[in-house]
C-alpha cells in the first residue's frame, strides 16, 4: 500500500520501536485487504482489557508496548475491564486478579488511553458524528456506530485498535468504503417486536443464520428507541461477523437475498440460550445500560426490596450522572448493585460456582454459555427486574 513519507519513516523505525510495530501491523492488514492507503481516524476503542480474557500474555504485551515512548494521538478508549476499579473488594474479586487488572489499566493510562471501560463509548463523551472514520474494536459498538450513528469503522481487534490509537490511522478498506456498506440481505419482519428481548433475539437469529452480512431490516417501528437498536446490533455481532445493519425501509440494495422472520424463528433461537430453570442472580447491562435504562430500573425498584441479586452494569461516566439524578441510590437501597467498568461476561463474578443467571441479552447468554460455562435464562428487561423482586 502507499505510505506517505512520514508514514514510511515510522515504518522504518525512525520514530521508535513501538510505533514501528504498530505501523507494521496496520500495513500487513492493509496489504492483505488491498487497502490503497491509510486514512485518519477520529478515535480508537480498544478491546482485550480484562485480565480474565487477555491473561498473562496480554499483560506482558501491554507492559512491553507501553514501555516505549508511543502515546495515543487521537481520543483513545477501552472496553470493560475485569472488575469495578473502585469497588472490587466488595464484589469479591481475588486480590491477585485485581493487582494484574490494575497494572493493565496503568499500561493504558501511561499511553494516554482513557480508562472509559465501556462497550457503549458513544453514550457520553465520545459520540462520533456522521461519516467520521473510527478504529473501534467492541463489536456491538462497531455495529451501533456504523448503523445508527452513520460513522465508519471496521470490526477492529485489540492490537489493531491499539496501533490505530498511537498512529491516528487505519488502512482504507472494508466498512470505510461506501460501496461496501450496501445491504446484502432484506429481512422482512412478519411479527411485531414487543419487548427489548425480541430485538435481541432477532439480532441473534440474523447473525446465526446469515453470518457475515449487512441486513436491511424491514418492518421495524419508526423512531425505534436507541436502546433496542443497541440490543439488536449487539446480538447479531455476537452470533455472526456483522458490522452493520440498516433500518431504512426503501434504500438501495444490490441483489439482496430476502428472508422472512416470524415469531417461530425468534422462539427457536431463544430456546438455544434460555433454560427453564430459576436462578438467584439477575444481570442487566450487556451492552452497558444507558441513562434511560438506569432510570427505568430505578423506577421499577424504587421503595421496594429485591429478593434476588440484581447487577446493573454500566460505565462510570453514566453511573456518575445517574448518581446525581438519584437512580443509583434508588437501585442500591432496594438491594441492587450498580457496577461500573466491567460486565458479567469479562469479570470473574461468575467463577465462584454460579449455576446460572437471568439476563435480557442474547450476547451475554451466548458468551456466558460458551466462555464461562454458566447457564442462562432469558427474560425481557422489565421481566428481569420483576424476577429479581420476587
Amino acid at each position: 500500500m502507499y505510505l506517505t513519507k512520514e508514514q514510511e519513516r515510522i515504518f522504518n523505525g525512525e520514530e521508535g520501536e513501538t510505533k514501528e510495530l504498530a505501523m507494521k501491523l496496520l500495513v500487513a492488514i492493509g496489504d492483505v485487504y488491498e487497502a490503497p492507503r491509510m486514512i485518519d481516524v477520529r478515535s480508537a476503542q480498544i478491546s482485550g482489557v480484562s485480565y480474565k480474557t487477555i491473561g498473562d500474555p496480554g499483560l506482558e504485551f501491554l507492559r512491553e508496548f507501553s514501555s516505549g515512548k508511543a502515546r495515543a494521538i487521537v481520543k483513545a478508549m477501552v472496553n470493560p475491564a475485569g472488575m469495578d476499579l473502585v469497588r472490587w473488594v466488595e464484589l469479591g474479586i481475588p486480590e491477585e486478579f485485581a493487582r494484574k487488572q490494575l497494572e493493565i489499566m496503568q499500561c493504558f493510562s501511561k499511553m494516554g488511553i482513557e480508562p472509559t471501560c465501556t462497550c457503549i463509548p458513544y453514550s457520553g463523551e465520545a459520540a462520533p458524528l456522521r461519516e467520521e472514520h473510527l478504529a473501534w474494536a467492541e463489536s456491538s459498538a462497531v455495529v451501533f456506530a456504523n448503523s445508527v450513528l452513520g460513522a465508519y469503522t471496521n470490526r477492529e481487534g485489540g492490537p489493531t485498535a491499539l496501533a490505530s490509537s498511537v498512529l491516528g490511522l487505519t488502512p482504507l478498506y472494508g466498512m470505510h468504503i461506501d460501496e461496501n456498506r450496501t445491504p446484502t440481505h432484506l429481512v422482512k419482519m412478519k411479527c411485531q417486536l414487543k419487548s427489548d428481548l425480541d430485538y435481541s433475539l432477532l439480532g441473534y437469529w440474523i447473525g446465526r443464520n446469515l453470518g457475515s452480512c449487512i441486513p436491511r431490516i424491514q418492518g421495524l417501528p419508526a423512531l425505534c428507541p436507541h436502546d433496542r437498536l443497541k440490543s439488536l446490533g449487539a446480538s447479531m455481532a455476537a452470533s455472526g461477523s456483522v458490522a452493520m445493519f440498516s433500518t431504512e425501509e426503501n434504500g438501495e440494495s444490490k441483489n439482496a437475498e430476502t428472508v422472512t422472520v416470524d415469531r417461530k424463528e425468534l422462539l427457536e433461537v431463544g430456546r438455544l440460550l434460555s433454560s427453564e430453570r430459576d436462578f438467584e442472580h439477575v444481570a442487566l447491562g450487556c451492552p452497558h445500560l444507558s441513562l434511560e435504562e438506569l432510570k427505568a430500573v430505578a423506577d421499577l425498584v424504587s421503595g421496594r426490596r429485591l429478593a434476588k441479586d440484581l447487577w446493573c452494569f454500566t460505565s462510570r461516566h453514566l453511573r456518575d450522572v445517574a448518581k446525581t439524578r438519584g437512580y443509583v441510590d434508588a437501585i442500591e437501597s432496594s438491594g441492587g448493585k450498580v457496577i461500573c467498568d466491567t460486565c458479567i461476561v469479562v469479570s470473574p463474578m461468575t467463577e465462584k460456582g454460579m449455576e446460572g443467571l437471568v439476563t435480557n441479552s442474547c450476547k451475554a447468554a451466548h458468551y456466558l454459555r460458551s466462555l464461562n460455562r454458566v447457564e442462562t435464562r432469558l427474560m425481557s428487561f422489565e421481566g428481569c427486574v420483576q424476577h429479581a423482586l420476587v
Binding site: L25, A28, S47, P57, G158
Partner: protein, 143 residues
Amino acid sequence: MHLSELRMNGRNVVGGHGSGEAIVSRQPMSFFGGVDPKTGVVIERGHDLEGRSVRGKVLVFPGGKGSTVGSYVIYGLRKYGAAPVAIVNVETEPIIIGGCVLARIPLVDKLDKSPIDVIETGDWAEVDGDLGRVLVERRRSRG
C-alpha cells in the same frame, strides 16, 4: 525413504525466515482458548491437533477464527519460548496477522498449491516471509 523437494509461491504477509518440522491441521485455529501460551500445546477439544505442541514447528492450517485476544496468545507463545517458527495459512486474517507481527513470526498465505493438502506433518519446511515462499522437503514416501 524417498526425499523430494517442493516449492510454493504465495503472499508475503509478515517478513522473516523460519524453518522446521511441519505440523499440519485441516481445521481453522482459535489461539484464544485453543492453545496454551506457556507450552504451545493445542487444547481445543476435538481439534485435529489436540494434545500436540506447535513449539518450534512450521505451523500449517487454513486460517484463524475466534477472539482477537488470540493475537496476544501468539505473542505469549513467543514470550514463553513455545512459539512456532513460522506460520503458513491457506488464507490468513487479522488475528493471525496481529499475532505474527507482535511475535515476529514469518507468515505467508495464498500459495499456488493448497498447503494443507500438499504439506504433511513431519515434512521439513522452510518459510521465507519476505518473498512469500515455502520450500518443503518431504521426509516420508507416499503413494
